[in-house]
C-alpha cells in the first residue's frame, strides 16, 4: 500500500501556542482512519493543513501534491466536510447541485439525486431552511457523489442525534467506501466510529500520541479485569492506564505478554475509547 498522506515535522502555531506540534503522519491508501482527540487537540488545524486551507511548516504531500500551492488541483481528488452547516444558506438544493456539477469534474449529479431521494431533502428547499440533520445529509450526498480518492471529515456529525449519526456512518461505509478510497475522520466521540476504522490516530496537545492499524491494537494492548488480591499485583506491573470496574480494576497494558497476565484475571482487547481515555489521561499526568 502506498501512502497517500505524508507529513514530516508539520508545525503550525497560533499566537505562539502550537496547534500542530511537529507531527509526522503517514496514511496508507484504502484506510479508514479515525483521528481522535479531545477538543482543542489540534485535529482541525492538522486537517486544514492537509487540505491546504491553512499554511504549515514542515514537509507535506497529499496524493503527491503540495496542498496549499496546488489546492484547486488537489480538490479534484480530495473531498472534505470541514464543518457542519457550511453549505451556502441562500442557495436552493437544486442550485447547489448545479454549482457542484458545473465546478467539479468528478461529480455525478444523478448519483447525488439518488442519495437525496432517500432523504427528506427536496430539491426546491433552501439550504437555510433545512434542519441540521438534513443539512448534513445533503452535504454527505454531495460528497459521496464525488469520485474522490481521499475523503476528509472533520467532526461531521457534531450536534446530530444518535439516529442521524448512525445512519451517517452506515451510509458512508455501505455506499461510498471501497478499496480505492481513503477516509480520514476526526472526532472526539470515539464510540461513533470505532467499528468502521482500520487505523486509529490519537492526538493531544498538537502531537500524535498513537498511530496504529486497528489490527495491531490487539497484539499491543491488553485490558485486564481483575478483582480482589490480584489488583495490587496487577497494579505493580507498568501499565498505560486503569479504571475502576465493579469489584475491582480494569488495567490496560502496552506490550506485555498476554500469558503473563492471564493468572491475574480476565484478559481482553481494550476498546478504542477505553484505550483513548487511558492514553490521554496518562498524557495529562506526564
Amino acid at each position: 500500500m502506498t501512502d497517500i498522506i505524508k507529513a514530516r515535522g508539520l508545525f503550525r502555531a497560533f499566537a505562539g501556542v502550537p496547534a500542530v506540534d511537529h507531527v509526522d503522519l503517514d496514511i496508507p491508501a484504502g484506510a479508514v482512519v479515525g483521528l481522535i482527540g479531545p477538543n482543542g487537540a489540534g485535529k482541525t488545524t492538522l486537517l486544514r493543513a492537509l487540505l491546504g486551507l491553512t499554511p504549515a511548516q514542515g514537509e507535506l504531500s497529499v496524493l503527491g501534491r503540495q496542498p496549499v500551492r496546488e489546492h484547486a488541483r488537489l480538490m479534484e481528488e480530495v473531498s472534505f466536510i470541514a464543518d457542519t452547516a457550511v453549505l451556502p444558506r441562500w442557495m436552493r438544493v437544486d442550485q447547489l447541485l448545479d454549482a457542484v456539477n458545473g465546478l467539479h469534474p468528478r461529480f455525478d449529479r444523478a448519483l447525488a439525486e439518488t442519495f437525496l431521494a432517500a432523504t427528506d431533502v427536496a430539491p426546491a428547499r433552501r439550504v437555510g431552511e433545512l434542519s441540521k440533520g438534513m443539512t448534513v445529509q445533503l452535504h454527505l450526498a454531495l460528497v459521496m457523489a464525488i469520485d474522490a480518492r481521499l475523503l476528509i471529515l472533520d467532526e461531521p456529525t457534531l450536534g446530530l442525534d444518535i439516529l442521524f449519526r448512525r445512519r451517517f456512518f452506515e451510509q458512508l461505509l455501505n455506499d461510498y467506501f471501497d478499496e480505492q478510497r481513503t477516509i480520514l475522520i476526526s472526532t472526539h466521540q470515539v464510540e461513533e466510529v470505532e467499528n468502521i476504522l482500520t487505523h486509529v490516530v490519537f492526538m493531544d496537545h498538537g502531537r500524535i500520541v498513537l498511530n496504529r492499524p486497528l489490527a495491531e491494537l490487539e497484539s499491543s494492548f491488553v485490558e485486564l479485569h481483575c478483582v480482589g488480591d490480584a489488583v495490587a499485583r496487577a497494579e505493580s506491573i507498568p501499565h498505560v492506564g486503569k479504571r475502576s470496574i465493579l469489584g475491582g480494576k480494569a488495567i490496560i497494558y502496552e506490550d506485555v505478554e498476554r500469558h503473563l497476565l492471564t493468572p491475574l484475571g480476565d484478559c481482553r482487547t481494550p476498546s478504542v475509547s477505553d484505550l483513548f481515555v487511558a492514553k490521554l489521561s496518562r498524557e495529562v499526568r506526564s
Binding site: 499554511p55 484547486a72 480538490m75 479534484e76 453549505l87 451556502p88 442550485q95 458545473g102 467539479h104
Partner: protein, 360 residues
C-alpha cells in the same frame, strides 16, 4: 475540456447572479417598470393635468399659430459630453426648432431616457424666451433625470455593496469551507466576482435600460400620434440606434476599465476585513487624503481616487461613469493605465489573503 471550462465560467457567474439577483436584476427592473408606468401616465393624461402635457400643448398651440413648424424631440442632451449628470437643465435645453421632416445630421441625435420637448422661444408675448422655457423644462427634466440617475445609482450601490461582501460574507458564514472544497482556484473565484461587478451587472442594467428606451420610444410615438402628427416621420429623423448602441456599449467598457481599480480595492477590503469591509475600504483612503493634505499640502491621492470613482456630475475634463457614450478624446490614458496596474496588484493581494488568511 473546452466545454467543461466554459461550463465552469458559466457556473461561477451564475452562482454570483443567483445570490445577488435582487440587487442586479429585480431592483433595476422594478425601477425601470416604475419609470415606464410614470411616463405612460404622463402620456395618457397629456391633455389634462400633467406638466408633461402642458409643455406639449404649448407646442401645439404655437404650431396652430403657425409660429413653429415642428416639434423637437431631443434625447440624451447631457450625454454629448460624456457624463451622466443631474441638474444643468438650462445647459441642456435645445431651443432650436426644425421641421420634423427635415433631415437632421446623425451625430446631432443621441437617445436615452432623457427626453426634452422644447417649445420654441416665446418672443411675441412680452415674455423673455429663456424664462418661459426654463419653467417648463424644469418641470419635466428633473423628474426624468431623477429616475434615470436612480437606475444608475441602484447599480452603483448594488455593485459597491456586492464587492464589499463578495470576499467577506462567505468567510463570515463559513460557507468558504464549502466553496474551497471544490476544485476552483482563488484566482478564478476572485476574478469571477470582479467580472460580475464590472461587466455582467452593468450589462444587465444596460439591457434593462435599452428595453426601457424602446418603451420610451413607443410612448413618444403614442404621444406624437395623439397630437395628430406622424410618429414614424418624427422619430425616423430623430433616432440613430446604431450610434446609440456603439456609444452605450463602448462607454460601458471604458467605464469598466476606469472603475477596475476602485472595484479591486473594494474586493481587497472585503478579503482583508475582520469586522467591517466598508470601514476598511474607506478609512485608509480618507486617512491618506487628510495626511497628505496636512503634511505635503498636495492632493495626489484625492485626485487619483476622484478619477476612478463614478461621477454623477458632468465635467469637461473628468471622465465619468459612462453608460451613454464616452468622450474618447478626453481620456487620460496614463491615469487609466496606472489604475489598471493598481487593480492588478489589489486583486493579487486579495487572492493571497484569501488563500492564507481567510479565517475571521
Amino acid at each position: 475540456m473546452n466545454r467543461s471550462r466554459s461550463l465552469r465560467i458559466f457556473t461561477l457567474l451564475q452562482r454570483e447572479l443567483r445570490e445577488h439577483r435582487r440587487a442586479f436584476f429585480w431592483a433595476p427592473l422594478l425601477l425601470a417598470v416604475l419609470l415606464a408606468v410614470a411616463m405612460l401616465l404622463s402620456v395618457l393624461v397629456v391633455d389634462r393635468i400633467s406638466v408633461f402635457g402642458d409643455t406639449l400643448i404649448q407646442v401645439i398651440e404655437k404650431q396652430a399659430d403657425g409660429e413653429s413648424p415642428g416639434i423637437i424631440i431631443r434625447a440624451g442632451s447631457e450625454d454629448r459630453r460624456g457624463a451622466v449628470g443631474i441638474g444643468d437643465a438650462e445647459d441642456s435645453i435645445d431651443l432650436a426648432s426644425r421641421p420634423a421632416t427635415q433631415d437632421v445630421p446623425e451625430s446631432a441625435w443621441d437617445f436615452d431616457l432623457d427626453w426634452t420637448f422644447s417649445p420654441p422661444p416665446v418672443t411675441d408675448r412680452g415674455m423673455p424666451a429663456s424664462e418661459a422655457t426654463d419653467e417648463r423644462i424644469r418641470s419635466l427634466n428633473p423628474l426624468l433625470n431623477l429616475l434615470h440617475n436612480a437606475l444608475l445609482l441602484v447599480l452603483m450601490i448594488a455593485v459597491a455593496q456586492y464587492l464589499l461582501g463578495a470576499l467577506y460574507d462567505d468567510r463570515k458564514d463559513r460557507s468558504i469551507l464549502f466553496w474551497r472544497s471544490l476544485p476552483v482556484s482563488e484566482w478564478e473565484s476572485v476574478l469571477s466576482k470582479l467580472a460580475v461587478a464590472l461587466i455582467v451587472a452593468p450589462a444587465i442594467l444596460i439591457a434593462i435600460s435599452i428595453l426601457l428606451q424602446v418603451v420610451t420610444t413607443l410612448l413618444a410615438m403614442l404621444m406624437v400620434w395623439r397630437l395628430d402628427m406622424q410618429p414614424m416621420a418624427v422619430l425616423a429623423g430623430n433616432l440613430a440606434p446604431a450610434r446609440l448602441l456603439v456609444d452605450q456599449i463602448g462607454g460601458w467598457l471604458l467605464s469598466a476599465l476606469w472603475l477596475a481599480p476602485t472595484c479591486a480595492w473594494l474586493l481587497l477590503a472585503s478579503a482583508a476585513a475582520r469586522r467591517s469591509p466598508f470601514l476598511l475600504a474607506v478609512v485608509p483612503v480618507i486617512g491618506a487624503i487628510v495626511l497628505e493634505s496636512i503634511f505635503l499640502r498636495t492632493s495626489v491621492v484625492l485626485d487619483a481616487v476622484g478619477r476612478h470613482l463614478p461621477h454623477l456630475t458632468e465635467s469637461d475634463d473628468g471622465v465619468g461613469f459612462y453608460l451613454f457614450g464616452p468622450d474618447w478624446a478626453a481620456v487620460d490614458w496614463l491615469s487609466l493605465l496606472a489604475g489598471l496596474v493598481f487593480a492588478a496588484l489589489a486583486t493579487t493581494l486579495a487572492v493571497t489573503l484569501r488563500r492564507h488568511r481567510w479565517e475571521i
